[in-house]
């Protein structure tokens, strides 16, 4: 078994190396001196207090969507719809805050109710994808993808329609809320420790849920073999629905935090790709919650650092996305190659009874 672990690590390191080589090639082809570019990315990410704060600000929604996706992945569901679930969460939060902002309720309560509304909104949107899957036989990938488009359309409609900023409706979103309805932030920054704390709490909770609870174990059983899980007494479709609901709730929380903690209004691209990035993180860590937090951190650091490329070398900042996707693809490819060339552990070693049978013969 020990040997296998080293071989696995070898393949993963190989995948990383190839990813680095390819990105170096891309940088060179784009006319940026690769090593200076890497250095400027590193400096861009960790070179100043401001950039570290920026990383922490984006870390929190990514942690939340990753946590959600880990749950649905464990249940064997490809919940592509996280992006939309996050968007609907933001819509619900905004709606609740618009409703309550002129009442005499204390601001803290309004913020809490807004966040709760966001959680419920995300969960409902996910439940829709879940119901389509469980009762309608619609594959969750198609359901999620479709609902993503609907969520985007709904956001745009609200931003330019009923909730339009008085006078000038624009892509910059609805009219920002009063300052008292903002989540408190560290002085001089937009970093909300509340948002960060909630996200870290969420990923820790998901880690515990998947590792140490009956719910998590049953969820994994459903994900790995629904037939056997059913025969062992697990109500399978209910667990699938639960997984959707929980994932949606976390995505909704991410959306809510974007509204109350960072943007303070609803804007068309409020989910900002965190849903899809969460899927990438979950795939890269092979659905192990323990690694999700550092990898998510690394991903947002790449995002932040790559802004420097734009400034220094006039490269598009989407370069970070290229690097992230390459990493995921190549790590998955490395895993495929390992299975193909080494076979599974089972074939490598004959079972005891097989050995015994041979001796008898």
């Amino acid at each position: 078994m020990k040997k296998n672990i080293w071989v696995n690590l070898g393949f993963q390191a190989g995948a990383l190396l190839v990813a680095m080589l390819v990105t170096t090639g891309i940088l060179a082809a784009a006319g940026a001196p690769p090593f200076q570019a890497y250095w400027s990315m590193l400096k861009g990410a960790f070179g100043s207090w401001d950039s570290i704060v920026t990383i922490l600000i984006s870390w929190s929604p990514l942690l939340l969507t990753t946590a959600g996706v880990l749950i649905t992945f464990s249940a064997g569901l490809w919940n592509i719809g996280v992006e939309g679930q996050m968007g609907v969460g933001a819509i619900f939060t905004t709606g609740m805050m618009l409703l309550l902002q002129d009442t005499s309720l204390p601001p803290a309560l309004i913020i809490i109710l807004g966040i709760l509304a966001g959680i419920i909104g995300g969960a409902l949107w996910a439940a829709l994808a879940g119901a389509l899957k469980v009762f309608g036989g619609v594959n969750e990938i198609f359901g999620g993808l479709g609902l993503n488009f609907v969520a985007t359309a709904l956001t745009i409609y609200l931003v330019f329609g009923p909730w339009a900023r008085p006078g000038v409706a624009s892509m910059s979103g609805t009219k920002p809320f009063e300052r008292e309805l903002w989540l408190p932030t560290l002085p001089g920054t937009s970093l909300s420790l509340w948002a960060l704390g909630l996200s870290i709490l969420a990923i820790a909770a998901v880690y515990l849920l998947l590792r140490g609870t009956h719910f998590g174990l049953r969820l994994k059983a459903v994900g790995k073999n629904p037939k056997a899980a059913f025969l062992l007494g697990v109500p399978t479709w209910q667990y699938s629905m639960f997984a959707f609901l929980l994932c949606g709730a976390l995505a909704g929380l991410a959306g809510a935090i974007q509204v109350v903690g960072l943007r303070h209004n609803l804007l068309p691209n409020i989910s900002n790709g965190y849903g899809f990035l969460g899927l990438l993180v979950a795939m890269l860590v092979n659905y192990q919650a323990l690694w999700a937090a550092p990898v998510a951190f690394f991903f947002v650091a790449l995002n932040t650092g790559s802004v420097q490329l734009q400034i220094n070398y006039k490269m598009d900042s989407s370069f970070a996305g290229v690097l992230q996707s390459l990493l995921v693809l190549l790590v998955l490819l490395g895993e495929g190659a390992r299975q193909r060339f080494l076979g599974t552990a089972r074939k490598a070693e004959p079972s005891e009874s097989e050995i015994r049978n041979k001796q008898v013969k």
Binding site: T213, H214, K220, A221, K227, A228, L231, S353, E354, N357
Partner: protein, 496 residues
Amino acid sequence: MDVELRDIYKTFGAVRANVGITLRVPAGTIQGILGENGAGKSTLMKILSGFMRADSGGIILDGRPVSIHSPADAIRCGVGMLHQDPLDFPPMRVIDNFILGRKGGLLPGQAEAARDFKRLAEQFGFSLNPDSYVDALTVGERQQLEILRLLWLGARALIFDEPTTGISAAQKEKLFAALRLLAEQGKTILFVSHKLEDVEGLCHRVAVLRQGYLVGEAQPPYTTKNLVEMMFGKSISAGERNPCAGGGSTLILDNLSVEDYRLKVRDVSLDVCRGEVIGLAGMEGSGQGLFLRAVSGMVRTVGGRILAGGKDLTGKSYHAFKRNGVAFLPAARLEEGLVSGLNLTEHFVLSEPPDGFFINWEQGGALARERIAGFNVKGTPASTVESLSGGNQQRALLALLRDPLALLLLEHPTRGLDIESTIYIWSKLKERCKQGTSIIFMSSDLDEILQYSDRVLVFFSGRVTPPLDASMLKTDKLGQLIGGKGWDEFTTGKSA
């Protein structure tokens, strides 16, 4: 076309599916291939039709050795196979299915194909509407479509795998007429079946396979006894019985009916007493699997009642059955019984009702160690189930069962296991019986049926015998029933 298989060998791991099989079939012959499940019939036919490659041996068509690597190669050489489950495309039209597989340019010659289709269909008296969709057809009609398609592609030797399963009597007549016509035209027909009557009535010659060997050939007039003996071998001794200990019934079936798309099992009544073992015999797909899943609550019944553990469970879900002490162990251990990727401890934790929100891993590990020792599983609590051998997977499945159980339903409890594991599994099962659990199991191994059952139900094409006393049952009688012979004595009353 003359078809010759020469010295065919094929092994799957330790299983020897075909051992030096040599068979010559001259053109214009309807050749029956007879044998019980796992005898190697399908493997041999799949080798001939290109779905598998033999480890060694050759195929000679019209005196010329050919190498067949794929079904496409086979049809190019003139060999086509009709599978038991038709390999067609239900959401597409008949004519599209017909054209599919034909080599041609970008635009298939629709008009020409339609003309050929009509001509061929008329020749055999098949009435198929080329524009209807395949999922609206019966199994028999889908077979007809497949025959026409293969002929159009130039098949001169046709393999039929259990073609009379799931089709009506009228369609069977039509099929047989078509087969005779094909033989007259000089085509070679290989007819794979376990139905003695069909084989005896249709085939010009019969080859019998058993455990991978070609054990004999026969020509008309056939004697059923001789065929059965070749199929199943000589009779075996019976094991010890658990006579009904009294103490009431664990399962009462009252005129139970269940059906799927091709089989109907009708009006089965059965009263199983505590500690009794009921064996279900029959060729694969004769209705015993459907019956077993209906009794476990996994398949909805269409009529009658199921009472288990004193409760009427008719129409209830599998989980309701499970709560009332009914357990089901599937034959596909890794596909349906165990969760690959989870270890034994995780399985034992899963199988017990949850005791709170968090898992007590220490307690789970202790449970796992205890059961692993108790059932002699070769593995550790941290072993993933897919790393276990088949016999140990089956032991693990048995170890996962909750206590107490009223009724235990098993599909092929010892399929693929070595003798040691088989004996061990049955000793554990018999232990359960002593505690009052009744067992119903299906098996294609007649020895197993006769050795461990108290009573036996035989299935044939959805028909069921009344419960037969296993101690009075002889192998040849059982073999005949499985092959569809000797059912007349049951037709006076209701079946079972």
